[in-house]
Symmetry: C2
Subunit: 384 residues, 2 copies
């Protein structure tokens, strides 16, 4: 059936109709008062969403571009940095550091396990010479559904005093409480096709005063990704380069939707979606990939021993028009991932779990009581 | 009146309804066969539009990001480059070269005048050591409406033998004949909100085999803008990072429209729009900024001696919902610019000129025969 696709991948996430219609509005000139008025409102609402008084800058890039900007604007060649790496995205930030000639120390954990905060404590406490200039953490590791303990690692960085904390919040911002000012997070990067509920194309970077201090002496080359340019123009509610006008108009719409829902409600909803999904997966007698105490509010990874995960995804798509995400790299065909990020409601989880109940027996997984997945989700939903 | 805005700026340019509706389609997953099929068709049509067998890569960036990628992928720190600079964008490519520590020689001309090709001949012919690694030319200088003589400069670069020719074709691609393979252009960068007839958000870079050879030893750091990553994934009809799915779906629509119109017809139309606009401006007894023999097919700049150009723009907007572009930097308030790029038809030029005829007398410009602007445009349109 056409046009019935339901996205349950970690991005692009579902887009509300009001945002799609905003997207379809004819573009306006970006050097106009009309556009600047939109920019002003969008920027104010971004600060609200980021819980910060810091600059929150918008770039015409993907999430990766936003994180790269968040790294290269504040460092110089040879600078020592610690990068948490326990998934596809952590690995990518290591690669970026290396591509720019930084002195990168990867602090790794197995995919599916959270970063070990004691390893950060050790490195940071030993660094009495204050050589470590930044610590880069992927908050919600999209590839595995693991939420790293940013709060603890950030506290260690604060005790170190010198290093900046740079956060990939691509699949946590707008899903999980990330109080930037309260925690003192220096740089937080995210992308539009996630919690923001609009299509891909915009990246966001929030920058603290301490990071701006580092910017002054940072020597890595940049131009399009030079955040100083964005800061300068943002102060006048404009952009250094032609912005993706339609996406910003759509974002204007979804940020207003988010304000109407309220931060607390958004976080509670994601928590509930996560809990229901995880309970349902257990009800289906499938192993969760990653434990409950480090589970991302945005995405749940499910292991599929004895089954090809991609066959599950393929059947879910064919029979029910539900798009699930697969495993990446060595996890390909070993796990599937259920996205519950952004414009997702309780009903979507029920649909997904019910559909899984239909197809799993055909793929040889019969070791569950029919209805047990939905029943487990129902129990969570009835708790609230 | 709401929703009556007519964009006659050099970008964003007008977007056809079919593309706006495509833009409003719910995003699909970017790691799907469905999306890869779209990518395959889009890429084939991009090569058709670029008149090349070279790779044509799509990046989630503005035109500036595309040009930056076109520069930094092929050069190393300290490399000597020549950069043509006769407007805002030429100046920007000089800045990019300097930001990356290249040895930049700007070859300048006054804003409104074309680059002097003999200055390039001199530098290139003197360089018997083949130290010059690239020559960067803005084909259509958007800030002034000047079309530089790329064909001649490219011939000089070819005689030099070593240097790459890197072209900012942001407002010439899809408006003017730019036969990449025939001329042997190494790198050609452009942006979506121009001749492509979709909103801003996508950049394009075509790369020749010679440029890919240079890529192998190029040492400037990059990651998000690393074209090698885009080339590798494009071969599998996918992207290294989450692409702006909706924009690509809209581009799929407009490229099909362009194919239906045909390259020759597109170029002829832009030539006609340019000729009619220039004839009309002369008919209105206003001085053209820049002479006919170097006039951009995308944009016509008009000087406004004795008047504030921004008042003309403001009245055109207020009275007739026509958005014109202003002058940049030292040309602010001294010129206005009429965009006739992309989804623009003869009627649009008539509307714009007729509207100018209404408002100019109120601003003190009465030194023209009423009707003479439209009459001059009509004459051009009746020649075809």
């Amino acid at each position: 059936m056409d046009n019935k696709l339901m996205l349950m991948i970690p991005g692009p996430t579902p887009v509300p109709e009001a945002a799609l219609l905003a997207l379809a509005k004819h573009p306006i000139g970006h050097r106009t008062n009309e556009f600047s008025n939109i920019m002003a409102e969008v920027t104010a609402n971004l600060k609200w969403l980021h819980q910060t008084e810091n600059d929150v800058l918008m770039l015409n890039v993907s999430g990766t571009g936003a994180v790269e900007a968040g790294i290269i604007n504040f460092l110089s060649p040879g600078d020592r940095i610690l990068v948490g790496s326990n998934g596809k995205f952590g690995e990518r930030w290591v690669e970026i550091g290396e591509a720019y000639g930084l002195n990168v120390e990867a602090i790794t954990a197995e995919w599916g396990k959270p970063l070990d905060t004691s390893l950060f404590a050790e490195k940071l406490q030993k660094d009495t010479e204050k050589q470590i200039k930044a610590v880069i953490i992927t908050h919600s590791e999209t590839s595995t559904g693991v939420l790293n303990d940013l709060e603890t690692i950030n506290r260690l960085v604060k005790e170190h005093g010198e290093a900046l904390i740079i956060v990939d919040a691509v699949t946590s911002l707008g899903a999980f409480n990330l109080p930037i000012d309260k925690w003192g997070l220096d740089v937080v990067a995210s992308g539009s096709q996630k919690g923001y509920m609009i299509p891909p194309g915009l990246g966001f970077v929030s920058v603290s005063p301490k990071a701006w201090e580092a910017y002054k002496t940072a020597k890595l080359p940049k131009y399009y990704l030079d955040l100083g340019k964005y800061r300068k123009t943002a102060a006048k509610n404009t952009t250094p380069f032609t912005p993706p006008v339609n996406l910003i108009v759509a974002l204007h719409t979804t940020l207003n939707m988010m304000k109407a829902e309220g931060l607390e409600s958004i976080f509670t909803r994601h928590q509930r979606l996560k809990n229901a999904t995880r309970a349902a997966v257990k009800g289906l007698n499938l192993p969760l990939f990653g434990s409950d105490d480090c589970a991302s509010p945005a995405i749940t990874a499910v292991a599929t021993p004895g089954m090809e995960a991609d066959k599950i995804r393929s059947l879910m798509n064919k029979r029910f028009d539900i798009a699930l995400a697969g495993g990446q790299d060595h996890l390909k065909n070993k796990i599937f991932r259920i996205g519950h990020l952004g414009f997702v409601c309780d009903r979507d989880i029920l649909s997904c779990i019910a559909a899984l109940e239909v197809i799993l027996p055909a793929l040889g997984h019969e070791n569950f009581t029919p209805g047990s997945g939905v029943a487990a989700a129902a129990k969570v939903f009835n708790q609230d």
